[in-house]
């Protein structure tokens, strides 16, 4: 009997830590799932893959999820309907500061369909800036063009709400920021999805401007990339307003990003800096951006270019 008790005790001592360890592991895994609601880039959190052989319990859970998603979508719609805007009316010909304020911490994350639309627009803005570079490939050096291309390619977008900048939950703006690794990242305010629905042209312009901000003169100067924007800034009389010094705000960065975004995605209104008789010259600069290399060469195909090189047939 005593031996039996001893064996049971030893067995208990061996099994108990295993059970405890497994319980802690399961708990941590579940916590991890709960905490992974903020997605960066193209990933869509919470999307479940349907399985043909799922058990009844899982199906019931899925039905509950669908119901919960419907309720969440209804709540989102109700909240978005009541969001208040700040800025000029829709009919205004002049663009102004415009945003729909968010509801703070209680503001729900955008639905999958809405976020898909924003992601498409973000990718489209990146593609448009890529085309802009192709269009102007003879106006800048190869090194500069490649640097600009890489910057756009590396840029990612974060789905709201963001834990790092929670004040954006009260705003409807987007900001260009950096992640923990120092890589460029666009963060959006909670009210931005409503802007995208109500004023799609303006929202697309804002996304394009956010993407173009990775080309700001100070960013390029910090990376020791030859800036293609000096003639444009001189044309806009902002040559001395680079604002790349310590503690300075960069007016030039807003000018460059606004000019580029306006070329690839019209906001549906005119930017005040290019409006009116006083700004005719500035409008000219914005419409035909002056570049450092303005000798527009013909665009030969690679085969013809090879023949045109010294020693070639032509």
């Amino acid at each position: 009997m005593r031996r039996m008790r001893g064996k049971v005790s030893v067995l208990f001592l061996m099994v108990f830590p295993l059970v405890l360890g497994a319980s802690v592991g399961i708990f941590k895994w579940m916590e991890g799932r709960k905490g992974s609601s903020v997605a960066v880039g193209t990933a869509i959190p919470g999307r479940k893959v349907a399985s043909a052989s799922k058990p009844a319990a899982a199906r019931a859970e899925s039905d509950e999820d669908a119901e919960a998603q419907k309720l969440a979508a209804a709540r989102r719609q109700e909240i978005e309907k009541n969001l208040v805007s700040f800025g000029p009316a829709d009919s205004a010909k002049t663009c102004g500061s415009f945003e729909y304020f968010g509801k703070g911490e209680s503001h729900p994350s955008p639905g999958h369909a809405d976020w898909d639309q924003i992601m498409k627009a973000f990718r489209s803005a990146k593609a448009d800036l890529g085309k802009f570079l192709i269009r102007h490939r003879w106006n800048m050096t190869d090194a500069t063009r490649e640097a600009l291309e890489v910057r756009v390619r590396e840029l990612r977008i974060q789905r709201p709400p963001t834990l790092e900048e929670p004040d954006l939950a009260w705003r409807g703006i987007g900001t260009l920021t950096r992640d923990q690794e120092g890589k460029p990242l666009v963060r959006l305010g909670a009210g931005f999805p409503k802007l995208f629905k109500e004023r799609p042209a303006r929202a697309r312009f804002e996304l394009a401007r956010l993407v173009a901000q990775v080309w700001s003169p100070c960013e390029l100067a910090a990376a020791k990339v030859e800036s293609p924007w000096n003639p444009l800034l001189q044309c806009l009389k902002l040559g001395s307003a680079l604002g790349c010094g310590a503690g300075q705000y960069s007016e030039a960065a807003w000018a460059v990003s606004t000019v580029v975004a306006r070329q690839v995605a019209s906001p549906g209104c005119e930017i005040p800096a290019f409006q009116g008789e006083a700004n005719v010259a500035a409008l000219g600069c914005a419409n035909s951006i002056p570049f450092p290399l303005n000798a527009r060469r013909a665009d030969p195909s690679p085969a013809v270019a090879a023949l045109q090189t010294p020693g070639g047939a032509l």
Binding site: N82, V84, F86, G87, T94, C95, G96, S97, F98, E99, F101, G102, K103, G104, E105, E164, E165, P166, D167, L168, A169, W170, R171, I173, T175, L176, T177, R178, Q180, R209, Q213, S216, P217, C218, E219, A221, A222, L242, G243, C244, G245, A246, G247, Q248, Y249, S250, E251, A253, W254, A255, T258, P267, C269, I271, P272, A273
Partner: protein, 169 residues
């Protein structure tokens, strides 16, 4: 053996006392005494660009803990009032004196936390698109002010969190 141990411990204690006599340590202590007056008011500005670029509007948040037991939070534009309009249709939003808000001691503790982060982080900014300006005012009238950039890690993110907490209170 015991004597050796006592000797070594005495040496460490002596070294600690001597380091306290260093001018730098004494200055640090004096600085701590000088700033012991609590922070009672905070201004935070997320500055937008010049209006001609039609960029994001500036947001200014002011938190005052001088007058009552509850922190008085105001913002320009009135983000909280617009986010949570009262049911009766009046223009006043949350943050009225009669409503529960953030208790003054908690708000001051947040100011103090923010000040610590602002002072610890010596990162300067250059060529900023989204400037952040913070001014913390102590009860004795002295001011701690710092300018930074939203895109930087460190204290600007602490400012964002504090502002969100104040607006939610």
């Amino acid at each position: 053996m015991t004597r050796k141990l006592v000797g070594i411990v005495s040496l460490f204690v002596l070294a600690g006392c001597t380091s306290l006599q260093n001018p730098s340590s004494m200055e640090a202590l004096k600085a701590v005494e000088a700033v012991s007056s609590p922070f009672v008011e905070a201004f935070v500005e997320f500055a937008g660009p010049d209006a001609r670029w039609a960029g994001p509007a500036s947001l200014v948040v002011r938190v005052d803990t001088r007058q009552s037991a509850v922190a008085h939070v105001t913002s320009q534009p009135a983000v909280r009032a617009m986010a949570h309009p009262p049911a009766d249709g009046t223009t006043a939003g949350r943050g009225l004196a009669s409503e529960p808000g953030m208790p003054t001691p908690k708000a001051r503790a947040l100011f103090s936390e923010l000040a610590t982060q602002m002072q610890a982080d010596a990162q300067s900014f250059s060529g900023c698109l989204y400037p952040v300006r913070v001014r913390l005012i102590r009860q004795d009238g002295s001011v701690l002010e710092k300018h930074g950039c939203r895109s930087h890690q460190g204290w600007p993110q602490a400012v964002s969190k504090a502002v969100s907490t104040f607006l939610a209170s």
